[in-house]
Structures are given as C-alpha cells and as structure tokens.
C-alpha cells in the first residue's frame, strides 16, 4: 500500500545513468528542468521529449515503475489542466452553459500538462538512478565553492543525506505500524474526513515516537564514532570524473544548444511569418 509511492526512491539496477557521477546528474537535471521552460514551440517539446525518452531507456528503470510513482501527483496535474482549460481567454472553441473552452486554453492546458509530466519524470529519473548517499556527496562536492561565503556545505549535505536515508525507513515503519493497527481492527479507509483524520492518530503517535527514538540512536552512534563535522574529513570513495562523465557533459551541452536554438529560432520565424 504505502510502499507504492516511488517518487524520490532509488531503483537498484545497473546502467550508464546509475554509474554517472552525481554532479553530472545534478547539473543535468537542473539544466533539463530550466530548459523545459525556455521553449514555446512544438520543436522544442519534441527535442525535450526525445532527450527524456533517451535517458529513460538508458536508465534501465521500467517505465511502469516510474509511472506508478506519478499517481500521487495526478491530482495537482488535473487541477493545472482544468484551470488552464477553463480560465484562459481567447478565441472560443466550444461553449456550453457557463463553461467556455478557448483554443488558447486548450493549447495551454496540453503544453502545461506535458511540461509538468516531463518535469516530474526528469527529476525523478535522477533520484531513481542515484543513491541518496551519492546524491549528497555530489551536492557537497559540487557546491564546495560556497564555502567561500561561509556556507556550511558539509553540514547541509549531511542533513540531506540523513533526511533522505530516513524516507524508506519511515515508510517501512509506517507500513508496519499500519499493519499492526489493522490487526487490531483499525480502519483507515472508511468514514468522513474527520473520522479518517482521527483514525490516523494510532498511526502517527507511534511513528513520531519511533522517529525520535531513531534520531536519538543515530546521534548517539555518530558521536560514538567521533563525528565532528566536515573539517579534515576524507572520503572513502572520492568523486572523480571519468570519461563517460565528460561525454555526458558534452551531450548535455549539445542538448542545451539544440533546444535553445530550435526553440528560439522557430519563435522568430513564427514572428516573421505573422508579420
């Protein structure tokens, strides 16, 4: 039940994307997400979609597994689509009762939905192919330059690592407590909003108690091993760029150039022809 949420989870398998340096993936994801909002024409979408499909194929993560995680954001997606569909003014396409759908609205709804989907899949592709530890390692090293302005980069990365590490543990714990309370006849699914909220109490109280207990244990274990922050700390597996990482950077750059060029170019030609 609760384990079906796959957003932000790591998918264990072996692929080029999995082996890539996390810094490449972080920057790549950032570039991709920004690029999604830079173009305004079909060609741009096609390039972005093609790039995403290529990455998905390279990642060896089953597409069905990715989609399963998307269910939880379906609601937000629907709201975006509906708002854009009904609340955009322009040339009327259909009109009945108080509802009018415009051509612009339809266009906007479709493009927004497409963008959001690509955005979410693109971002989750990173977390699916990178372990939390790797991710924070990459973040720590990639943002090292911020130390110049006294940013506690290591501490932030450590906090992130711990937070990410705890997601699957807490999910598992939730699953366990949920089952234990179900075995005692608890009912999480029926009733109105108030009843459902109250039904969460037997789940949330033990969950908080166990989260605090785990946090306490972890703090103790870290202290027992003399953890004292990032100064002078060395890595067992330092991040070093390999050939494939440079290749990935080049591909990324190529993608960026193509998408900007295509996107801007046709906007310009469109402008010219409309004149």
């Amino acid at each position: 039940m609760i384990r079906d949420i796959t957003i932000g989870q790591y998918y264990q398998t072996d692929s080029v994307l999995h082996r890539l340096d996390p810094r490449v993936k972080l920057l790549g994801t950032l570039v991709y997400l920004v690029s999604l909002f830079c173009f305004h024409n079909p060609a741009g979408y096609a390039v972005a979609l093609l790039f995403l499909i290529l990455c998905i194929r390279l990642s060896h993560v089953p597409f069905g597994y990715m989609i399963k995680g998307m269910k939880s954001i379906m609601f937000i997606l629907m709201i975006t689509i509906l708002f854009n569909l009904f609340l955009t003014s322009g040339t009327v396409l259909v009109s009945f009762w108080k509802i009018t759908i415009t051509v612009e609205g339809l266009k906007l709804a479709i493009t927004m939905a497409l963008r959001l989907c690509m955005l979410i899949i693109g971002a989750s592709l990173m977390t699916l192919t990178t372990t939390p530890n790797h991710l924070t390692d990459g973040l720590e090293k990639g943002l090292r330059f911020l130390k110049v302005i006294k940013m506690p980069v290591h501490e932030i990365a450590m906090m992130m690592a711990i937070a990410l590490r705890f997601i699957p543990i807490l999910l598992e714990e939730t699953d366990k407590i949920m089952k234990a309370q179900l075995a005692r006849g608890a009912d999480f699914e029926s009733g109105g909003l108030v009843r459902r909220a109250r039904a969460m109490v037997p789940l949330l109280v033990p969950l908080f108690v166990s989260a605090f207990r785990r946090a306490n244990d972890l703090a103790m274990a870290m202290e027992a091993r003399c953890y004292r922050g990032g100064d002078g700390r060395t890595k067992m597996k330092p991040l070093i760029y390999a050939g494939r990482d440079y290749a990935a950077y080049i591909i990324l750059l190529a993608y960026l150039v193509i998408s900007i060029f295509l996107g801007r170019w046709s906007v310009m030609t469109e402008l010219l022809t409309s004149l």
Partner: protein, 283 residues
C-alpha cells in the same frame, strides 16, 4: 479444521528487478487448539506467512480458508477475520499510542463496535490474563519497561478475544526471565482458553518446551512439519539452514556417543533430565 493454507505463493515487488519469491507453494492445515512453533532463519518467510493468515498480505496465488470460507472471496469481512485471528507483531510495543495502558488495550475491542462496558471488561480481562499489575493500568505506556510494554501490546490483541493467536517473535530483545514469563503466559493461555497458538521464532530452545508441532521454514518453503521430537532428529539439516536443535539434544547426542544409554530424542529439559537420571541409575 480452523485454517487451511492451499498452494500459497507470495512475491514481493513483483514488477521490479528485485522481485523476491517469499513464499513458495505453502500447504498447511491448522486445527483448533494446537500450539504450533514456526521456526526459520531471518528472511525464511515466516513473518510473511503469518501475515497472510489474517489477510494483511494477499497471496500472489493460492487460497486460504478460515473455518471453511475462502478469505479472498469478494465481500469477505477481513475486519471480522482479524478479530478471530489475532496477530501480535514483532516488537509490538512500537504500536502503543494511547495516553494510558488501559485505553490502549481498549483500542482493539472498541474497533469491533462493542458497547463501552463490554470493551472495558475485555480490556480488564486481557490485562489480567497477561499478568499486568493493576496499579499500573492508568500510567502512560511509554513509561513502562520493555517487558511490561510487550505485555500491554499482547493484551491489546487478546482483548479482541481471538480464536487463533499468532505471535511473531514475542521474546525478541527480552532478558531470559522476561522470555520465560512471556512463553509461560502463552502456554497458559492455550491451556486455559483452548486458543490455537502460532509462535514464530528463530530459537529452537524457545519453542521446544512448549509446542505440539513445529514448522521449519527455509527460503520460503516449509521444510519440516512434524512433532518436535521428529524435527529435532534432523540436526544436520537444521544446521545447514543456520538453525540448531535445542541444547539438550546436543548434550544427549554427545552422551550417547560416549556410550551412555540415554533417549536422544528427548526435547525438553525435564525429559532430558529424567532420561539421564535413568541411564545413570541403571549403571
């Protein structure tokens, strides 16, 4: 026949690359009133199996019958099943949440929709059955010791008056005294109320003294299903599964090798003591 498990398979994470075949073709008959020990190494599928018996996990294939009814039938009342088949999870004290012990034990019967009086009566009975001291009924469950918390959690399931009680590693993390107390209590429950008991454990010594029948699980299969005496005669196979026979079995085997006439199939400490005394008396 209270519970029948028929060709049950269960696969974790079916559509992913890490799919694990946790249960493989399990067939069982669990008659009323039996005390059964389920033994297996970590990851052998014993916890997965017991979660099927009250419908918390749904088998990938196969069926389970409770009192002749298929629990996977459409419209079968799983909530009702869970009140008949009580399941106490590993570290059950982690599920406590109420402000005091008594209200926590009330949670189960309250979910069954009973009257307030009946709920409190059952909670009171259950706490007495597990031997919980009355003066602590209204303290916070979080202030109790580990052993006492566990008693409260077990009482929480007992208060639903189940016909079958399943305990998943009820002695994990307890000291020897606490272990014995809990196991004695479970045995007493079975004898007094005729409950069917399934005790999951990885320690043979825990179960040897108490159970009528042992299921040994390994890699999702039931390997042995017999009376303790028979199961413990397969010492070598058990060791291959990273399990062990009870300590008395080893002592008796060594004695026999040394030429002393003892009955090496004795399973409990008492039986072993009497056969050793007998052997030496004969000399």
């Amino acid at each position: 026949m209270a519970i029948i498990v028929d060709h049950v398979n269960y696969i974790y994470g079916q559509d992913t690359e890490q799919a694990v075949h946790a249960l493989q073709d399990i067939n069982l008959q669990i008659p009323d009133g039996q005390f059964i020990g389920i033994i297996g190494h970590t990851g052998s599928g014993k916890s997965t199996l017991v979660q099927h018996l009250n419908g918390l996990l749904k088998a990938t294939s196969g069926s389970i019958y409770y009192n002749g009814q298929d629990i996977y039938d459409e419209g079968y009342n799983l909530k009702d099943l869970r009140s008949h088949v009580g399941l106490v999870f590993q570290y059950p004290e982690h599920q406590l949440f109420e402000v005091d012990v008594f209200s926590d034990v009330c949670f189960g019967p309250k979910n069954l929709g009973l009257s307030k009086k009946e709920v409190e009566l059952r909670a009171f009975d259950a706490l007495r059955q597990v031997g919980f001291p009355e003066e602590l009924f209204y303290t916070s469950p979080f202030d109790l010791s580990g052993g006492q918390k566990r008693r409260v959690a077990i009482a929480g399931v007992l208060a639903m008056k189940p016909d079958v009680l399943i305990l998943d590693e009820p002695t994990a993390g307890l000291d020897p005294k606490g272990r014995e107390d809990i196991l004695d209590m479970v045995k007493r429950l079975q004898q007094e109320s005729g409950m069917t008991i399934l005790l999951v454990s990885h320690s043979m010594d825990d179960v040897a003294e108490y159970v009528d029948r042992i299921l040994v699980m390994d890699h999702g299969r039931v390997v042995f299903d017999d009376v303790p005496r028979q199961v413990f005669s397969h010492v070598e196979e058990l060791e291959e599964m990273h399990l062990a026979a009870p300590q008395v079995t080893y002592i008796l085997r060594d004695l026999k090798k040394a030429g002393i006439e003892v009955d090496e199939n004795a399973t409990t400490v008492d039986e072993a003591a009497s056969t050793i005394l007998q052997a030496f008396g004969k000399k």
